[in-house]
């Protein structure tokens, strides 16, 4: 019971504080909240948009939760999403064009996941064999990946028309089909339910999950029990990066069809808030992702109808992060 109340309290308090900020800056917090809710749930289309937005948040939130569980601070979700999207776009607009249709989507998604894993793998290598903390390396890798996307869409991957800094659209065969009868939600959406389930099994019902949690809770004790912390660090970073990279590829193949700057739009950081609100529980990531997705889709209406800047959403995310750790500590540890 308490496990539910505290995250809800964190959300409530965060909204209250954000409302206070709006009041202080001369805006109407109630009108803002109404606009936010309308934008997120006000129509079938809005609802579907919220669900579509929740998919990558759920995946990357899961990636963060797994890493944090093992005591590995993967702050690099943003960069891993970017390289996943970059590789997906490169394959879908260039390399795979004309290839066998049946294989294209799956190749695009797999390659995105592999790219994300490799990108996180750099941080794993740096930590394990060069002694560089993953906190610093994943943050720096974020900047490099973001600029890599910018370079690609201004250079080698820019659309043939050359009008905008964006890639061509993916060929039809490389795109994810919509779910039956829906306008926006794509065929990879069920992954956002499936992967957290698998992660739950891995974490709580397998020896590998036990090792991973042990390293996170007490690395020294784990070492005495015969677990190799460096190996677990590498493993969890590869998994975490792979899931984030997959999310990037899913966004390209299922939502935007094109690569452009700002595609990830802070998703990697929102995902940290998702994971913390979910208290690093793989299944709780799903409702947490839905909450932040509704903020994201509602923020457009917030800006249009209530004239409150979209970036307020980031303030709410930050408040949820602080309040989540605040509550977790009252209970004594994470």
């Amino acid at each position: 019971m308490r496990a539910w109340i505290e995250p809800l309290l964190a959300i409530g308090l965060a909204l209250l504080l954000a409302g206070g900020l709006l009041l202080g800056l001369g805006a109407d917090p109630l009108a803002a909240l109404a606009a936010l809710a309308r934008g997120a749930f006000g129509s079938a289309y809005a609802l579907e948009s919220t669900l579509t937005r929740a998919v990558p948040l759920c995946l990357v939130g899961l990636a963060v939760a797994l890493a944090f569980r093992a005591g590995v601070w993967n702050i690099g979700g943003e960069g891993q999403i970017c390289v996943g999207a970059l590789v997906a776009a490169a394959l879908g607009t260039r390399a795979l064009v004309g290839g066998p249709a049946a294989a294209q989507v799956s190749l695009v998604l797999l390659a995105g996941a592999a790219a994300g894993a490799l990108w996180a793998g750099i941080a794993a290598w740096l930590r394990v064999s060069r002694g560089v903390s993953e906190v610093l390396s994943t943050i720096l890798l974020n900047f490099i990946a973001l600029l890599g996307v910018a370079f690609a869409v201004h250079g080698p991957l820019q659309e043939a028309a050359g009008a905008y800094p964006q890639s061509d659209a993916l060929g039809a065969a490389a795109r994810l089909p919509r779910l039956a009868g829906l306008e926006r939600l794509h065929a990879a959406a069920p992954l956002a339910l499936l992967l957290p389930g698998l992660a739950w099994l891995l974490l709580f019902r397998s020896a590998a999950g036990l090792r991973l949690r042990a390293v996170g809770l007490a690395p020294e004790a784990a070492r005495y029990a015969g677990v190799s912390p460096p190996r677990e660090v590498v493993r969890v970073l590869l998994i975490s990066g792979g899931i984030a990279g997959l999310a990037g590829a899913v966004e390209i193949a299922g939502v935007t069809a094109r690569l452009f700057e700002g595609l990830s739009g802070g998703l990697g950081f929102t995902a940290i808030a998702v994971a913390l609100l979910a208290r690093l529980h793989p299944l709780a990531v799903i409702p947490a992702a839905l909450f932040f997705a509704s903020l994201a889709t509602g923020s457009g209406a917030l800006q249009r109808a209530a004239h409150v800047p979209k970036v307020l959403v980031q303030v709410i995310e930050a408040l949820v992060i602080f309040l989540s750790v605040g509550f977790a500590l009252r209970r004594g540890g994470r």
């Binding site: 900020l21 060069r130 720096l140 950081f269 970036v311 303030v315 408040l319 992060i321 602080f322 500590l329």
Partner: protein
Amino acid sequence: MLELGFAFAALRLSAPLGFAALGELVAQRSGVLNIGIEGMMLTGAFAAFAAGAATGSAPLACAAAVAAGTAMAGVFGAFAIGRRADPIVCGTGLNLLALGGTGTAQRLLYAPGEPLPSAPQIAWPVWVALLALGALGVGLFLAYSRPGLRLRAAGERAEAAHAQGIDVRRVRWSATLFGGACAGLGGACLTLWISDTFVENMTAGRGFIALALVLFGAFRAWRILAGAALFGAASALQFRLQAAGVEIPYNLLLMTPYVLTLAVLALFAGRVRPPGDLARPFEG
């Protein structure tokens, strides 16, 4: 003339890094790892801009930046020291808070579409003097003063320091707030010197470079300053190359400081020994 211009550009680009990194050095030496430097700098930059534009007074603007940076460090401290929450999580939250908070405040306080007012400027010799004095002060404080020794003890072996009668949490609180003040000052460089206006997310990763500089400078004030100068020069070179029409894509040039930092860390990080109890919350 060209060389003088280059040196000046390098100086301008290294000063914000230098201020922020010196503050973080003190925090880390006391055992506090605050990765929210970027957020404290950004808040400082915005506070300096807003206060400067409203009052027209550069000293007041500077004071506002210091206050804002310190306040943000206070938020961090309340959770990371007060509640012993994980510092990495708190630092990440701080960065998000600053990004969203300054963005929201900017758009609500200044009418969209209209040009932003400009902030008063502080002449470069003042900044250079401040930075040089700051580095000297921090270096001497850490190496030779009694409070500096206590601060290092709190960061090295908090339990032992506590047993010696040192109030570890108090020391860490002071160091954290000092770090915030310095980061705020670094942010003020951006709006009171490098430009006279505020742009959303204008710190653009400088806080993270400053974070890397502490390690790069092996936790020594003068080495950190040298590192900041090196990075300033690299950034200035990047703009110079661009102006000279060298055919390197812009985004790849922008990538260089991050790649450089990563490469330097890969080569040297293993040889640097951070304070023993860095990022370990003190339970006492």
